[in-house]
């Protein structure tokens, strides 16, 4: 049984059917990416999985039970965590308070402080800036904070929406190093990225979305080698 099983998912966004009935699975411990052009429906898909957008049709099963009708906070509480596009850092909470918010649904104080240490270990920069407000951080630091905050919920399924967007090359490199590290530690990841090469190089499998439909799916290595994918998404 897969950790995430999506069947026939359709989502309306801004009055149009942005996602037109897609099937996808993510196994426990697997890293899967969703690539495609601007407006292909990648972000809409992730937002529907997290519960920010309602499903117009289809079903979402997570860890064996249907979550299609669960509100967003209930999905967060059972381990589905979305790092949203644009990072969504709370601008007037401090870095430490932002990280605390990640652990909002947890009560295990010892586990929370252990995870806080883990996150500060992954991102020493966040520790240095723990007393600063989120809005004063650079884009790369905000992305670290957003990722660290998601880890603080101890998620079972981590959804990452465009983690490289708007970042300097060095910051992108740092973020993806960390993503690979947490993947190696066994985290299940579903990654949406415009930078298809980067996404495929970090994933085991990939889905290619076009106009709200899945048009290819394969192992990441096969997609990287596919002439069609190379021509359309890898600029080669």
């Amino acid at each position: 049984m897969s950790l995430l099983e999506v069947q026939g998912l359709a989502v309306h966004y801004g009055g149009i059917r942005a996602v037109k009935g897609i099937d996808l699975q993510v196994e426990e411990g697997e890293v899967v990416c969703l690539i495609g052009a601007n407006g292909a429906g990648k972000t809409t898909t992730l937002r529907a999985l997290a519960g920010l957008l309602p499903a117009a049709a289809g079903s979402i099963r997570y860890a064996g039970s249907a979550v299609t009708d669960l509100p967003v906070h209930a999905r967060a509480r059972i381990g589905i965590s979305l790092v949203p596009e644009g990072r969504g850092v709370f601008p007037r909470l401090t870095v430490a308070e932002n990280l605390d918010m990640g652990a909002y649904s947890r009560r295990d104080r010892a586990g929370i402080s252990a995870d806080l240490e883990h996150v500060y270990g992954l991102f020493p920069r966040l520790y240095e800036r723990r007393a600063q407000t989120g809005g004063t951080l650079s884009g790369g630091e905000q992305q670290m904070l957003s990722l660290g905050r998601a880890l603080m919920s101890r998620p079972r399924l981590l959804l990452l929406d465009e983690p490289s967007m708007g970042l300097a090359p060095l910051a992108v490199q740092k973020i993806f190093e960390t993503i690979r590290l947490i993947a190696d530690q066994g985290m299940t990841l579903l990654l949406v990225e415009q930078n298809a090469r980067l996404a495929l190089e970090s994933s085991r499998r990939g889905y290619v979305l076009e106009g709200g439909c899945i048009v290819h799916q394969d192992d990441a290595a096969a997609l990287l080698a596919s002439p069609k994918v190379r021509a359309a998404y890898l600029g080669a």
């Binding site: 509100p71 967060a76 969504g88 709370f90 990640g102």
Partner: protein, 307 residues
């Protein structure tokens, strides 16, 4: 008598009352970006309920030390229920509507509450029973009464409690997070609807306290007392920076002091043309000036920070 000091003392006490009410406006605005024009009416309900209960209890021979807390408790319960009902029935269905719709609804709710109060209590003024024997103390040439001191202490304690709640508790953190980014708060596992309801509960409880204090300050309660009071407290919230809690405290205190000083000196300034009963113009003069020259208020963040 030192007029300046006296007006400062009066202004501080009046201002603490404005601050209590302004907090309710600013908390709801911070989370929903809604100006809850019905909030002044919640204060009115608090005043009417507390005066009615106080009258009934003292008539039945209940000692004041017990009757006052009971009147306050009754006011808190009725205000909280009213506030939560208003949110649930009038505002929540419009959560994703254009912003004008809930604003007009808020004005409608305000009129409905006023009329319900008029039907229930009638048009006459309710007098605050003389349960506390007034004692006046002389301070550096000015005077302050025990009731004024009590008002100041209760208001300060209530506001201190609110600051603790917002800054030191899990609920407070969820409120601040929801105010800054409702969608992401949901992603953190915050049940946003419950946080919004909690905001109305807290704001309405503050309104109940304010209602009792205001009734004791003026000695009366009336079904339409919430209207002008609400507008003034809203002006105070805008002065401090709407959505900003310390701003509401500062704005309320400043407005009270400005109004008192204005009332004290307007006669001299206009050569007797305008008397102290024109004090209400100051709140709205300030509102106009703030909106013209510093729309984000004294402590309000620049609009860009909200993006």
């Amino acid at each position: 008598m030192d007029v300046l000091l006296q007006q400062l003392i009066n202004g501080l006490i009046l201002g603490s009352l404005y601050a209590l009410v302004a907090l309710g406006y600013t908390m709801v605005y911070g989370i929903l970006e809604l100006i809850n024009f019905a909030h002044g009416e919640i204060v009115m309900v608090g005043a009417m309920v507390s005066v009615s209960v106080l009258v009934a209890l003292t008539a039945a021979g209940v000692p004041v030390a017990l009757a006052l807390p009971l009147a306050l408790a009754a006011a808190v319960v009725v205000c909280v229920v009213t506030g939560v009902l208003v949110e649930r029935v009038a505002y929540r269905p419009l959560r994703n509507a254009p912003r004008l719709a809930p604003l007009i609804t808020a004005i409608g709710v305000s009129i409905v509450l006023q009329n319900l109060a008029m039907i229930f209590w009638g048009r006459q003024y309710l007098s605050f029973p003389p349960v506390i024997e007034v004692q006046v103390y002389a301070v550096l040439g000015a005077t302050v009464s025990n009731i004024q001191i009590l008002i100041l202490v209760v208001a300060a304690l209530t506001m201190g409690g609110l600051l603790l709640l917002v800054n030191r508790t899990r609920l407070g953190r969820a409120m601040r997070a929801t105010a800054q980014n409702r969608e992401v708060a949901g992603l953190m596992g915050v049940d946003v609807n419950r946080v919004i309801a909690a905001t109305f509960i807290v704001g309405s409880a503050l309104a109940a306290v304010a209602g009792l204090l205001i009734a004791s300050y003026y000695g009366i309660a009336h079904y339409n007392m919430g209207f002008i009071l609400g507008l003034k407290a809203f002006s105070a919230a805008v002065l401090g920076g709407i959505g900003n809690i310390p701003g509401a405290l500062l704005g309320g205190l400043l407005l009270g002091v400005i109004e008192s000083l204005g009332a004290g000196y307007i006669g001299d300034l206009t050569g007797g043309f305008l008397g102290s009963h024109y004090q209400d113009i100051f709140a709205f003069l300030i509102l106009i000036l703030v909106l013209t020259f510093r729309p984000s208020g004294l402590l309000g963040e620049r609009v860009a920070d909200r993006a």
